[in-house]
């Protein structure tokens, strides 16, 4: 904030507070609200970075920033233009949350043509909408923060690393590992569908901790064996539809579901 020392040190090394912007395309703005939802550490967080653009929380805005956290997916041509402008300004562009990374729930409308969804909601009124795309379809993305919503603890860790210049490394292993470490009852044993075995960890098995099966919002873990999980889930009595609902939900598994669709001979 203005008036505060804009330099901090870490292990005796001076650390410059990066100028940070929170920006959004088509989204629920929930991921950026997670920042304000972090009441206990908010003052510390704000002493680490200088927030210069955050429309939902502040009136002042600056177009001069180092890091841009972009929430939401692309659904309209003006958003591409906005995104290119942001890319031109930001030294580091972060895809913030599943909508930005994969299209999120927004991409569920891609099952139908833009014309059909427009007619269903607005009739013949002129409304512009395109096929939903993740932001890396339009600009280069430097870093992805997964999750619907993003996990604030993970965001903080990442922001600290960015501020002190450390590399950000995502877990390669799946949510299932975190869930086991948390000593949860396996959701399969409770009769619940779960994508924990193939979804990238980092959320500390947020949903399974609450006895809700994973919906794959963080996308695939490294070397995820989607086909094998599908076989196992079918054996356990989950229908094809239930499995596909979860794989489709946030767009992170679209490469797999498209391939499965082709194999099955359907035109997805």
């Amino acid at each position: 904030m203005a008036g505060q020392d804009s330099f901090r040190s870490y292990l005796g090394v001076p650390v410059k507070r990066p100028r940070v912007a929170f920006l959004e395309l088509s989204s629920c703005e929930g991921c950026q609200l997670q920042i304000l939802n972090n009441e206990a550490c908010l003052p510390d967080f704000l002493s680490l970075v200088e927030v210069v653009n955050f429309r939902e929380a502040m009136t002042e805005r600056s177009e001069d920033y180092d890091i841009a956290f972009v929430e939401g997916s692309i659904t309209r041509s003006d958003e591409v233009e906005r995104l290119k402008k942001i890319r031109g300004t930001a030294k580091l562009l972060v895809a913030f949350g599943s909508c930005a990374c994969f299209g999120g729930v927004n991409q569920l409308k891609n099952r139908f043509s833009p014309d059909r969804v427009k007619r269903a909601v607005y009739g013949d009124a002129p409304v512009e909408t395109d096929i939903v795309r993740p932001i890396e379809d339009a600009v280069k993305v430097d870093l992805k923060i997964f999750g619907c919503p993003v996990k604030k603890e993970e965001v903080e860790k990442i922001v600290i690393n960015l501020a002190i210049g450390k590399a950000v490394v995502h877990p390669k292993y799946p949510v299932c590992m975190e869930c086991k470490a948390n000593a949860n009852i396996c959701l399969f044993d409770l009769g619940e569908p779960c994508l924990g075995p193939i979804t990238r960890a980092g959320c500390d098995s947020w949903c399974p901790n609450n006895r809700a099966g994973c919906w794959g919002c963080r996308g695939p873990a490294d070397a995820a064996n989607v086909k094998q999980l599908k076989t196992i889930m079918l054996e356990r009595g989950f229908s094809e539809e239930i499995i596909m609902d979860r794989l489709d939900c946030f767009g992170g598994f679209s490469a797999f579901t498209n391939a499965m669709g082709k194999e099955a001979g359907t035109n997805k």
Partner: protein
């Protein structure tokens, strides 16, 4: 006397979503005052078509990053009404407690982070950390308490995990409930200090006669389900909600607009207080009367005070709910769900007003048709009419540009609009 004025606020700040305010005054006369909604639509109603019933609450929570719990509960209620499921007492109480804490969280966010900076002459809550640290810490405490309860009951403060059709995936421990009770008792003091703070603010003096729509209380201040009522005397059943909302498409907004007996109506905390004042907790009633808020109040800026009144109400009622939950035997968290063909409507009072979800299912429990009517979309027309009347008044009073701009922004913020939600 100022005769000409041109105000264009692009992407109004400290509101959720994207809206613009345009005001033009020429020779002391109002030429144009427009509330423009430019948010991109996401088409939730279309994307749910063909999906199984259990997708609806999970996907619909994502309509809104502030009131995801309200959307989840409205969605669940619509599914349960379609399938003929009546939730158990325990489920009803836990859902209401969860709802109350979302109301508290959202109202505190609005009162302190979005509205208060205008009254304290800053652009955001951030500079207040140095000038008014006690205020910011108190806001943080209240918000964190509400959010912690939402984690404890719903599994997660944003996009909840435990809330499902038929009940909950798991229940909070009794020990957790007792801890929440202790913290909520403490919160009563923080709310009294909040009221003191707001008493130092000058609420703009502006009224325009308005029709107010909300759930109708039956023995209690209503939040989840029931009949629908308006201050102009309209009374409808929950499943007749379309006769209450009458949505239509306008050029200046990607969100639809609504009307009822007049050209517009309002929903939200002020509408609820106006329609159900007698059901407020006595402590809330006292605060309300202390601010001169009693039915029917037609000053939209008083929605801020109505939110404060509701904070007091939900905290006091939650204390009662916790005692009831602690005193009763623990039941199974979840009832079985048997899908069937039919239509279900769920009406829930979320922080910004009454929210409706409606689904039509085929015999396999797949969604044939989906309709969601959002509180802010019901308010947009009323915001427009208020803005015109306010700008007219400002013009005839010869106010300065920056004063008009601030007042117009404060008017829209008073509605606490959730714009991306309204466009969905």
């Amino acid at each position: 006397m100022k005769l000409d004025c041109n105000i264009n606020i692009h992407h109004l700040t400290r509101v959720e979503g994207h809206g613009n305010i345009n005001i033009r005054i020429k020779d002391g006369r109002l030429q144009q005052a427009e509330w423009e909604v430019v948010e991109t639509p996401r088409f939730f109603e279309a994307m749910l078509a063909g999906k199984r019933w259990d997708n609806a609450p999970w996907i619909c929570a994502r309509i809104c990053g502030i009131c995801s719990i309200g959307h989840t509960l409205a969605s669940i209620r619509a599914v349960e009404n379609a399938f003929g499921i009546v939730p158990a007492q325990q489920t009803q109480k836990l859902r209401l407690f969860l709802k109350h804490m979302e109301t508290l969280q959202s109202h505190i966010l609005h009162l302190y982070f979005l509205a208060a900076p205008d009254f304290l002459n800053t652009g955001s809550v951030f500079p207040l950390m140095e000038s008014h640290p006690d205020v910011v810490l108190r806001a943080g405490r209240l918000k964190q308490l509400a959010n912690d309860v939402c984690d404890g009951i719903g599994g997660r403060r944003l996009h909840p995990t435990r809330t499902v059709v038929g009940g909950f995936t798991m229940l909070p421990e009794k020990k957790e409930l007792s801890e929440f009770r202790d913290r909520l008792s403490e919160a009563v003091k923080d709310l009294a200090l909040t009221a003191e703070l707001f008493r130092t603010f000058k609420i703009p003096d502006f009224t325009r006669e308005t029709e107010f729509v909300s759930l109708k209380g039956e023995g209690g201040y209503p939040f989840i389900g029931g009949d629908l009522i308006s201050t102009d005397g309209v009374l409808k059943r929950e499943h007749e909600y379309r006769q209450m909302t009458n949505e239509y498409i306008v050029v200046q907004s990607t969100s639809k607009w609504s009307r009822l007996s007049r050209s517009s109506f309002a929903v939200g905390a002020l509408a609820r207080v106006n329609n159900n004042f007698k059901f407020l907790h006595p402590a809330a009633k006292k605060i309300s009367l202390g601010f001169g808020l009693q039915p029917v109040n037609h000053n939209p800026f008083m929605n801020n005070i109505a939110q404060l009144v509701e904070c007091v109400h939900v905290v006091n009622e939650s204390l009662v709910l916790i005692d009831e939950l602690l005193d009763s035997a623990r039941m199974e968290p979840r009832q079985p769900v048997i899908p069937k063909e039919g239509i279900g409507v769920g009406a829930v009072e979320v922080p910004r007003g009454i929210l409706y979800h409606c689904y039509e299912f085929d015999e396999a429990g797949k969604i044939v048709k989906c309709d969601c009517v959002i509180p802010t979309s019901q308010n947009h027309a009323n915001i427009q009419h208020d803005l015109s009347a306010l700008a007219e008044k400002c013009a005839s009073d010869g106010m300065q540009d920056k004063d008009i701009e601030l007042l117009a922004a404060m008017l829209v913020r008073s509605y606490d609009p959730c714009i991306s939600c309204s466009v969905h």
